[in-house]
Protein backbone atom coordinates (compact mmCIF):
# COMPACT_ATOMS: atom_id res chain seq x y z
CA UNK A 1 0.00 0.00 0.00
CA UNK A 2 2.76 2.37 0.92
CA UNK A 3 4.52 1.73 -2.37
CA UNK A 4 1.30 2.54 -4.16
CA UNK A 5 1.16 5.77 -2.21
CA UNK A 6 4.71 6.68 -3.19
CA UNK A 7 3.91 5.99 -6.80
CA UNK A 8 0.89 8.26 -6.67
CA UNK A 9 2.93 11.02 -5.07
CA UNK A 10 5.59 10.72 -7.73
CA UNK A 11 3.08 10.75 -10.56
CA UNK A 12 1.46 13.89 -9.26
CA UNK A 13 4.80 15.55 -8.72
CA UNK A 14 5.37 15.33 -12.44
CA UNK A 15 2.40 17.51 -13.24
CA UNK A 16 3.44 20.67 -15.00
CA UNK A 17 2.81 23.72 -12.88
CA UNK A 18 2.92 27.35 -13.92
CA UNK A 19 2.63 30.73 -12.25
CA UNK A 20 0.88 33.60 -13.96
CA UNK A 21 2.56 36.95 -14.18
CA UNK A 22 1.22 40.25 -15.43
CA UNK A 23 3.77 42.99 -15.05
CA UNK A 24 6.07 45.46 -16.78
CA UNK A 25 9.65 44.50 -17.62
CA UNK A 26 12.17 46.65 -15.81
CA UNK A 27 15.21 45.21 -17.51
CA UNK A 28 16.50 42.19 -19.39
CA UNK A 29 19.94 41.14 -18.28
CA UNK A 30 22.08 38.02 -18.70
CA UNK A 31 19.20 35.85 -19.88
CA UNK A 32 16.76 36.92 -17.23
CA UNK A 33 13.87 39.33 -17.09
CA UNK A 34 13.55 41.64 -14.11
CA UNK A 35 9.96 42.67 -13.61
CA UNK A 36 9.00 45.93 -11.91
CA UNK A 37 7.39 44.03 -9.04
CA UNK A 38 10.72 42.37 -8.19
CA UNK A 39 10.03 38.94 -9.73
CA UNK A 40 12.47 37.48 -12.23
CA UNK A 41 12.00 34.98 -15.04
CA UNK A 42 14.63 33.16 -17.02
CA UNK A 43 14.69 33.27 -20.81
CA UNK A 44 15.61 30.00 -22.46
CA UNK A 45 15.54 31.22 -26.05
CA UNK A 46 17.05 34.68 -26.15
CA UNK A 47 15.09 37.91 -25.77
CA UNK A 48 12.18 36.70 -27.89
CA UNK A 49 11.54 40.27 -28.96
CA UNK A 50 11.08 41.50 -25.42
CA UNK A 51 12.58 44.72 -24.11
CA UNK A 52 12.48 47.03 -21.13
CA UNK A 53 9.11 48.67 -20.45
CA UNK A 54 7.18 45.96 -22.30
CA UNK A 55 4.13 44.93 -20.33
CA UNK A 56 3.50 41.22 -20.62
CA UNK A 57 1.09 38.61 -19.42
CA UNK A 58 2.71 35.24 -19.21
CA UNK A 59 3.39 32.03 -17.40
CA UNK A 60 6.47 31.01 -15.46
CA UNK A 61 7.23 27.40 -14.65
CA UNK A 62 8.44 26.22 -11.27
CA UNK A 63 12.04 26.67 -12.41
CA UNK A 64 11.22 30.34 -13.13
CA UNK A 65 11.49 29.90 -16.89
CA UNK A 66 9.17 32.11 -18.93
CA UNK A 67 7.22 29.49 -20.84
CA UNK A 68 4.65 31.65 -22.61
CA UNK A 69 3.70 35.31 -22.87
CA UNK A 70 1.80 37.92 -24.78
CA UNK A 71 2.65 41.60 -24.93
CA UNK A 72 -0.11 43.81 -23.66
CA UNK A 73 -0.82 47.46 -24.28
CA UNK A 74 -0.86 48.80 -20.78
CA UNK A 75 -1.15 52.54 -21.27
CA UNK A 76 -2.24 53.43 -17.77
CA UNK A 77 0.72 53.53 -15.52
CA UNK A 78 0.15 52.23 -12.05
CA UNK A 79 -0.58 55.24 -9.81
CA UNK A 80 1.50 53.66 -7.08
CA UNK A 81 4.48 53.68 -9.36
CA UNK A 82 4.24 57.42 -9.97
CA UNK A 83 6.87 59.54 -8.34
CA UNK A 84 5.95 61.99 -5.66
CA UNK A 85 8.85 64.37 -5.57
CA UNK A 86 8.40 67.75 -4.00
CA UNK A 87 9.64 70.58 -6.12
CA UNK A 88 13.03 71.95 -5.17
CA UNK A 89 13.68 69.28 -2.57
CA UNK A 90 17.39 68.90 -3.06
CA UNK A 91 18.50 68.85 0.55
CA UNK A 92 18.34 65.68 2.56
CA UNK A 93 17.13 66.59 6.03
CA UNK A 94 15.56 63.25 6.92
CA UNK A 95 16.74 61.85 10.23
CA UNK A 96 15.43 58.50 11.43
CA UNK A 97 14.15 58.30 14.97
CA UNK A 98 16.08 56.35 17.57
CA UNK A 99 14.14 53.46 19.06
CA UNK A 100 15.15 53.46 22.69
CA UNK A 101 15.64 49.71 23.26
CA UNK A 102 15.45 46.29 21.66
CA UNK A 103 12.28 45.71 23.67
CA UNK A 104 10.70 48.74 22.04
CA UNK A 105 11.87 47.43 18.68
CA UNK A 106 10.14 44.12 19.42
CA UNK A 107 6.96 46.02 20.18
CA UNK A 108 7.15 47.91 16.91
CA UNK A 109 7.63 44.58 15.14
CA UNK A 110 4.65 43.01 16.86
CA UNK A 111 2.47 45.98 15.84
CA UNK A 112 3.08 45.23 12.14
CA UNK A 113 -0.18 44.78 10.29
CA UNK A 114 -0.51 41.00 9.73
CA UNK A 115 -3.40 41.27 7.28
CA UNK A 116 -1.28 41.40 4.14
CA UNK A 117 -2.60 39.73 1.03
CA UNK A 118 -1.04 36.52 -0.18
CA UNK A 119 -0.25 38.10 -3.49
CA UNK A 120 1.27 41.42 -2.53
CA UNK A 121 4.45 43.30 -3.23
CA UNK A 122 7.11 43.86 -0.62
CA UNK A 123 7.31 47.57 -1.51
CA UNK A 124 3.65 48.08 -0.63
CA UNK A 125 3.88 46.10 2.58
CA UNK A 126 7.01 47.93 3.73
CA UNK A 127 5.43 51.29 2.92
CA UNK A 128 2.35 50.57 4.97
CA UNK A 129 4.24 49.07 7.91
CA UNK A 130 6.63 52.03 8.09
CA UNK A 131 3.91 54.65 7.87
CA UNK A 132 1.52 52.84 10.19
CA UNK A 133 4.21 52.96 12.86
CA UNK A 134 4.88 56.62 12.16
CA UNK A 135 1.19 57.35 12.64
CA UNK A 136 1.06 55.40 15.88
CA UNK A 137 4.26 56.53 17.56
CA UNK A 138 5.80 59.22 15.38
CA UNK A 139 8.82 56.98 14.80
CA UNK A 140 10.59 57.77 11.56
CA UNK A 141 12.18 54.71 9.95
CA UNK A 142 14.38 53.85 7.03
CA UNK A 143 13.89 51.38 4.23
CA UNK A 144 16.44 48.66 3.56
CA UNK A 145 16.56 47.74 -0.12
CA UNK A 146 18.46 44.62 -1.14
CA UNK A 147 19.31 44.10 -4.81
CA UNK A 148 20.44 40.75 -6.14
CA UNK A 149 22.85 40.59 -9.06
CA UNK A 150 22.04 38.59 -12.17
CA UNK A 151 24.98 36.31 -11.46
CA UNK A 152 23.63 35.51 -8.00
CA UNK A 153 20.09 35.06 -9.30
CA UNK A 154 21.36 32.69 -11.97
CA UNK A 155 23.53 30.73 -9.57
CA UNK A 156 20.75 29.87 -7.12
CA UNK A 157 17.73 30.38 -9.39
CA UNK A 158 16.55 33.12 -7.06
CA UNK A 159 13.08 34.41 -7.83
CA UNK A 160 13.47 38.12 -7.12
CA UNK A 161 15.90 40.87 -8.06
CA UNK A 162 15.08 43.20 -5.20
CA UNK A 163 13.37 43.19 -1.83
CA UNK A 164 12.59 45.93 0.68
CA UNK A 165 11.58 46.15 4.33
CA UNK A 166 11.38 48.87 7.03
CA UNK A 167 14.53 49.40 9.07
CA UNK A 168 14.82 51.10 12.46
CA UNK A 169 17.78 52.56 14.28
CA UNK A 170 17.74 50.97 17.72
CA UNK A 171 19.67 51.89 20.85
CA UNK A 172 20.80 48.57 22.34
CA UNK A 173 22.29 49.72 25.66
CA UNK A 174 24.40 52.35 24.00
CA UNK A 175 25.11 50.41 20.80
CA UNK A 176 23.15 51.75 17.88
CA UNK A 177 21.93 48.98 15.61
CA UNK A 178 20.01 49.00 12.36
CA UNK A 179 17.24 46.44 12.70
CA UNK A 180 15.15 45.29 9.75
CA UNK A 181 11.51 44.45 10.41
CA UNK A 182 10.39 42.12 7.67
CA UNK A 183 7.23 40.82 9.28
CA UNK A 184 6.28 38.44 6.49
CA UNK A 185 9.56 36.58 6.39
CA UNK A 186 11.02 36.74 9.89
CA UNK A 187 9.60 36.38 13.37
CA UNK A 188 11.60 39.19 14.99
CA UNK A 189 13.65 42.27 14.13
CA UNK A 190 16.88 41.22 12.40
CA UNK A 191 20.24 42.88 11.94
CA UNK A 192 20.92 43.80 8.34
CA UNK A 193 23.30 40.84 7.98
CA UNK A 194 20.78 38.40 9.47
CA UNK A 195 18.17 39.79 7.11
CA UNK A 196 20.32 39.58 4.01
CA UNK A 197 21.42 36.04 4.96
CA UNK A 198 17.80 34.96 4.59
CA UNK A 199 18.08 35.65 0.88
CA UNK A 200 21.78 35.34 0.16
CA UNK A 201 22.50 31.68 0.68
CA UNK A 202 26.24 32.15 0.27
CA UNK A 203 26.05 34.33 3.42
CA UNK A 204 28.35 36.72 1.60
CA UNK A 205 27.84 40.29 2.84
CA UNK A 206 26.08 42.61 0.43
CA UNK A 207 27.95 45.68 -0.74
CA UNK A 208 26.43 48.83 0.71
CA UNK A 209 26.03 51.66 -1.76
CA UNK A 210 24.10 54.88 -2.16
CA UNK A 211 23.85 54.69 -5.93
CA UNK A 212 21.36 52.51 -7.70
CA UNK A 213 23.52 52.73 -10.83
CA UNK A 214 26.31 50.86 -9.05
CA UNK A 215 23.98 47.88 -8.80
CA UNK A 216 22.40 48.42 -12.18
CA UNK A 217 25.68 48.32 -14.11
CA UNK A 218 27.51 46.03 -11.69
CA UNK A 219 30.26 43.80 -13.10
CA UNK A 220 28.55 40.77 -11.52
CA UNK A 221 31.27 40.31 -8.95
CA UNK A 222 28.94 40.83 -5.99
CA UNK A 223 25.99 38.70 -4.87
CA UNK A 224 23.94 41.67 -3.75
CA UNK A 225 23.82 45.35 -2.91
CA UNK A 226 22.17 47.24 -0.07
CA UNK A 227 20.77 50.74 -0.24
CA UNK A 228 19.30 52.45 2.81
CA UNK A 229 16.82 55.24 2.17
CA UNK A 230 14.25 57.16 4.14
CA UNK A 231 10.83 55.66 4.81
CA UNK A 232 9.42 57.71 1.93
CA UNK A 233 11.13 55.66 -0.76
CA UNK A 234 9.02 52.78 -1.93
CA UNK A 235 10.41 51.31 -5.13
CA UNK A 236 13.83 51.10 -6.81
CA UNK A 237 12.72 53.51 -9.54
CA UNK A 238 12.47 56.28 -6.97
CA UNK A 239 16.04 55.65 -5.81
CA UNK A 240 17.20 55.71 -9.39
CA UNK A 241 15.30 58.92 -10.02
CA UNK A 242 16.98 60.51 -7.02
CA UNK A 243 20.37 59.69 -8.46
CA UNK A 244 19.49 60.95 -11.92
CA UNK A 245 17.72 64.17 -10.98
CA UNK A 246 19.16 64.95 -7.54
CA UNK A 247 15.61 65.44 -6.34
CA UNK A 248 14.61 63.79 -3.14
CA UNK A 249 11.43 62.11 -2.03
CA UNK A 250 10.71 63.86 1.24
CA UNK A 251 7.12 62.91 1.91
CA UNK A 252 4.54 60.26 1.29
CA UNK A 253 1.08 61.28 0.26
CA UNK A 254 -2.07 59.79 1.73
CA UNK A 255 -3.08 58.84 -1.79
CA UNK A 256 0.07 56.80 -2.21
CA UNK A 257 -0.36 55.13 1.15
CA UNK A 258 -3.98 54.27 0.50
CA UNK A 259 -3.01 52.72 -2.79
CA UNK A 260 -0.31 50.60 -1.11
CA UNK A 261 -2.78 49.59 1.55
CA UNK A 262 -5.37 48.64 -1.04
CA UNK A 263 -2.89 46.62 -3.10
CA UNK A 264 -1.22 44.80 -0.25
CA UNK A 265 -3.63 44.48 2.67
CA UNK A 266 -7.06 43.16 3.40
CA UNK A 267 -9.34 45.42 5.44
CA UNK A 268 -9.01 44.47 9.09
Amino acid sequence: MKYFLLAVIMMNSLKISAESISNRIYKIENGLIKFENGRVAFLKNGHQGLKSQDYIKGEIDNQSNLISFIKVNHMNSDPVKSFFFEENEYEDTFEPSIVSSLKDADEIFSRSNPHYKRISECSDRAHVWAHDEFKVSGTKSMKAFIFFTASYINSVRFKWWFHVAPMYKVNDKGNFKDMVMDFRYSDRPLTVKEWSDQFVYTKRPCKVTTKFSEYDVNPQTENCYLIFESMHYKIPGEIHEKELSWRLKTKTTEYELKASYRYAFDPK
Partner: protein, 213 residues
Protein backbone atom coordinates in the same frame (compact mmCIF):
# COMPACT_ATOMS: atom_id res chain seq x y z
CA UNK B 1 -10.03 29.41 -3.48
CA UNK B 2 -9.55 26.07 -5.11
CA UNK B 3 -8.58 23.30 -2.78
CA UNK B 4 -6.73 20.30 -4.04
CA UNK B 5 -6.35 17.32 -1.81
CA UNK B 6 -4.06 14.43 -2.13
CA UNK B 7 -4.53 10.99 -0.63
CA UNK B 8 -2.21 9.74 2.04
CA UNK B 9 -3.26 6.88 4.12
CA UNK B 10 -4.12 7.25 7.72
CA UNK B 11 -1.41 4.84 8.70
CA UNK B 12 1.21 7.29 7.53
CA UNK B 13 -0.28 10.10 9.51
CA UNK B 14 -0.36 7.97 12.59
CA UNK B 15 3.20 6.85 12.06
CA UNK B 16 4.31 10.46 11.68
CA UNK B 17 2.59 11.41 14.89
CA UNK B 18 3.95 8.49 16.83
CA UNK B 19 7.50 8.22 15.53
CA UNK B 20 10.12 9.47 17.92
CA UNK B 21 7.65 9.72 20.76
CA UNK B 22 9.39 9.77 24.10
CA UNK B 23 7.28 7.59 26.36
CA UNK B 24 9.47 8.29 29.34
CA UNK B 25 9.01 12.01 29.12
CA UNK B 26 5.26 11.69 28.71
CA UNK B 27 5.17 9.54 31.83
CA UNK B 28 7.11 12.19 33.71
CA UNK B 29 4.45 14.75 32.87
CA UNK B 30 1.58 12.92 34.50
CA UNK B 31 1.09 15.73 37.02
CA UNK B 32 0.39 18.07 34.15
CA UNK B 33 -2.05 15.76 32.45
CA UNK B 34 -5.61 16.83 31.94
CA UNK B 35 -4.91 20.29 33.23
CA UNK B 36 -7.70 22.61 32.28
CA UNK B 37 -6.99 24.90 29.36
CA UNK B 38 -9.02 27.75 28.09
CA UNK B 39 -8.94 26.99 24.39
CA UNK B 40 -11.93 28.98 23.22
CA UNK B 41 -11.14 31.97 21.03
CA UNK B 42 -9.27 32.76 17.86
CA UNK B 43 -5.63 31.84 17.35
CA UNK B 44 -3.34 32.95 14.55
CA UNK B 45 0.07 31.82 13.35
CA UNK B 46 2.09 33.72 10.79
CA UNK B 47 3.86 31.03 8.79
CA UNK B 48 7.37 31.97 7.80
CA UNK B 49 9.93 30.25 5.58
CA UNK B 50 12.14 27.31 6.52
CA UNK B 51 14.69 25.76 4.17
CA UNK B 52 13.98 28.46 1.60
CA UNK B 53 17.55 28.15 0.31
CA UNK B 54 16.44 24.92 -1.35
CA UNK B 55 14.18 26.61 -3.85
CA UNK B 56 15.11 30.29 -4.04
CA UNK B 57 11.53 31.10 -3.11
CA UNK B 58 10.35 32.25 0.30
CA UNK B 59 7.09 30.50 1.07
CA UNK B 60 4.79 32.14 3.60
CA UNK B 61 1.32 31.64 4.94
CA UNK B 62 -1.08 31.96 7.82
CA UNK B 63 -3.06 29.65 10.01
CA UNK B 64 -6.21 30.61 11.88
CA UNK B 65 -7.90 28.43 14.47
CA UNK B 66 -11.35 29.44 15.66
CA UNK B 67 -12.95 27.67 18.58
CA UNK B 68 -16.51 28.57 19.33
CA UNK B 69 -18.59 26.53 21.73
CA UNK B 70 -18.59 22.98 20.38
CA UNK B 71 -16.93 23.65 17.05
CA UNK B 72 -13.37 24.10 15.87
CA UNK B 73 -12.50 25.56 12.49
CA UNK B 74 -8.96 25.57 11.18
CA UNK B 75 -7.89 27.40 8.06
CA UNK B 76 -4.45 27.66 6.54
CA UNK B 77 -3.08 29.12 3.41
CA UNK B 78 0.29 28.78 1.83
CA UNK B 79 2.00 30.88 -0.80
CA UNK B 80 4.69 28.66 -2.29
CA UNK B 81 6.02 27.98 -5.74
CA UNK B 82 6.21 24.20 -5.47
CA UNK B 83 3.02 22.53 -6.59
CA UNK B 84 3.41 19.45 -4.47
CA UNK B 85 1.79 17.58 -1.64
CA UNK B 86 1.81 19.69 1.52
CA UNK B 87 1.45 17.68 4.70
CA UNK B 88 0.49 20.08 7.50
CA UNK B 89 -0.08 19.80 11.20
CA UNK B 90 -0.33 21.54 14.54
CA UNK B 91 2.48 20.25 16.72
CA UNK B 92 2.91 20.34 20.44
CA UNK B 93 6.18 22.28 20.69
CA UNK B 94 6.35 25.97 21.49
CA UNK B 95 8.83 27.34 19.01
CA UNK B 96 9.72 27.03 15.37
CA UNK B 97 12.95 25.34 14.42
CA UNK B 98 15.65 27.18 12.53
CA UNK B 99 18.87 26.21 10.80
CA UNK B 100 20.48 26.43 14.25
CA UNK B 101 18.59 23.18 14.95
CA UNK B 102 20.19 21.43 11.98
CA UNK B 103 21.95 18.97 14.25
CA UNK B 104 23.72 16.97 11.54
CA UNK B 105 24.80 20.23 9.91
CA UNK B 106 23.97 19.18 6.39
CA UNK B 107 22.43 22.58 5.74
CA UNK B 108 18.88 21.27 5.62
CA UNK B 109 16.38 21.19 8.43
CA UNK B 110 14.72 17.80 8.01
CA UNK B 111 11.58 16.40 9.62
CA UNK B 112 13.43 14.73 12.50
CA UNK B 113 15.37 17.87 13.38
CA UNK B 114 12.25 20.00 13.03
CA UNK B 115 10.12 17.70 15.14
CA UNK B 116 12.73 17.67 17.90
CA UNK B 117 11.93 21.36 18.35
CA UNK B 118 8.38 21.79 17.09
CA UNK B 119 7.12 18.67 18.85
CA UNK B 120 5.06 15.74 17.69
CA UNK B 121 1.78 16.13 15.85
CA UNK B 122 -1.18 17.33 17.88
CA UNK B 123 -3.68 17.74 15.03
CA UNK B 124 -3.24 16.58 11.45
CA UNK B 125 -4.57 19.29 9.17
CA UNK B 126 -5.96 16.89 6.63
CA UNK B 127 -9.41 16.18 5.27
CA UNK B 128 -10.59 14.86 8.61
CA UNK B 129 -9.73 17.02 11.57
CA UNK B 130 -11.43 14.71 14.00
CA UNK B 131 -9.50 11.65 12.83
CA UNK B 132 -12.54 10.03 11.27
CA UNK B 133 -12.16 7.84 8.20
CA UNK B 134 -13.64 10.29 5.70
CA UNK B 135 -10.92 12.59 4.45
CA UNK B 136 -8.32 11.12 6.75
CA UNK B 137 -4.86 11.46 5.25
CA UNK B 138 -6.00 13.85 2.54
CA UNK B 139 -3.61 16.77 2.50
CA UNK B 140 -3.61 19.85 0.29
CA UNK B 141 -1.78 19.64 -2.99
CA UNK B 142 -0.64 22.74 -4.79
CA UNK B 143 1.46 25.85 -4.36
CA UNK B 144 -1.02 28.55 -3.42
CA UNK B 145 -3.53 26.47 -1.57
CA UNK B 146 -6.18 27.46 0.93
CA UNK B 147 -7.47 24.92 3.40
CA UNK B 148 -10.45 25.16 5.72
CA UNK B 149 -11.95 22.42 7.84
CA UNK B 150 -14.49 22.36 10.63
CA UNK B 151 -15.11 19.66 13.20
CA UNK B 152 -16.82 18.95 16.48
CA UNK B 153 -14.57 20.17 19.26
CA UNK B 154 -15.36 17.38 21.77
CA UNK B 155 -14.40 14.74 19.23
CA UNK B 156 -11.04 16.36 18.64
CA UNK B 157 -10.48 16.96 22.32
CA UNK B 158 -11.19 13.31 23.07
CA UNK B 159 -8.95 12.10 20.29
CA UNK B 160 -6.09 14.28 21.52
CA UNK B 161 -6.67 13.30 25.12
CA UNK B 162 -6.55 9.61 24.22
CA UNK B 163 -3.44 9.98 22.09
CA UNK B 164 -1.41 12.48 24.11
CA UNK B 165 -2.88 12.22 27.60
CA UNK B 166 -3.27 15.97 27.56
CA UNK B 167 -6.07 18.42 27.00
CA UNK B 168 -6.19 20.54 23.89
CA UNK B 169 -4.23 23.74 24.44
CA UNK B 170 -3.51 25.79 21.36
CA UNK B 171 -1.68 28.88 22.60
CA UNK B 172 2.00 28.76 21.63
CA UNK B 173 1.56 25.55 19.64
CA UNK B 174 3.42 25.24 16.36
CA UNK B 175 1.94 25.00 12.86
CA UNK B 176 4.14 23.32 10.28
CA UNK B 177 3.72 22.71 6.56
CA UNK B 178 5.99 20.34 4.66
CA UNK B 179 6.91 19.61 1.05
CA UNK B 180 9.41 20.89 -1.48
CA UNK B 181 9.70 20.29 -5.20
CA UNK B 182 10.55 16.77 -6.27
CA UNK B 183 13.44 18.23 -8.24
CA UNK B 184 15.11 19.55 -5.09
CA UNK B 185 18.49 17.90 -4.64
CA UNK B 186 18.59 16.38 -1.16
CA UNK B 187 21.60 14.63 0.33
CA UNK B 188 21.57 11.18 1.90
CA UNK B 189 21.83 12.77 5.33
CA UNK B 190 18.30 14.15 5.11
CA UNK B 191 15.98 12.09 7.28
CA UNK B 192 12.38 11.28 6.51
CA UNK B 193 9.60 9.31 8.17
CA UNK B 194 7.18 6.60 7.26
CA UNK B 195 8.75 5.98 3.86
CA UNK B 196 7.60 9.36 2.70
CA UNK B 197 9.70 10.71 -0.15
CA UNK B 198 12.24 13.06 1.38
CA UNK B 199 10.91 16.01 -0.61
CA UNK B 200 7.45 15.52 0.92
CA UNK B 201 8.80 15.68 4.46
CA UNK B 202 10.98 18.79 4.28
CA UNK B 203 9.45 21.60 6.39
CA UNK B 204 8.83 24.75 4.36
CA UNK B 205 6.97 27.10 6.73
CA UNK B 206 6.38 27.35 10.44
CA UNK B 207 4.55 29.64 12.83
CA UNK B 208 3.50 29.76 16.47
CA UNK B 209 -0.19 30.15 17.36
CA UNK B 210 -1.05 33.16 19.47
CA UNK B 211 -4.47 33.97 20.81
CA UNK B 212 -5.82 37.08 19.12
CA UNK B 213 -9.41 37.08 20.38
Amino acid sequence: MKKIYFPIFTVLSLIISSCGKDNKSSQKNTSQEFEEQQSHGVYRAILRPLNNHLSGFLPTGKAIVEIDKEQIQISTHLDDDAKVLHIQSIQNGTRCPSLNDDTNQDGILDIEEATAVAGEVLIHLDGSLDGGPEGDGLYPWGSGFSYKKRADLPVIENEIRLRTKKNLALADRVVMIYGVSKNTPLPETVATRSQLPKDSSIPVVCGVLTKIQ
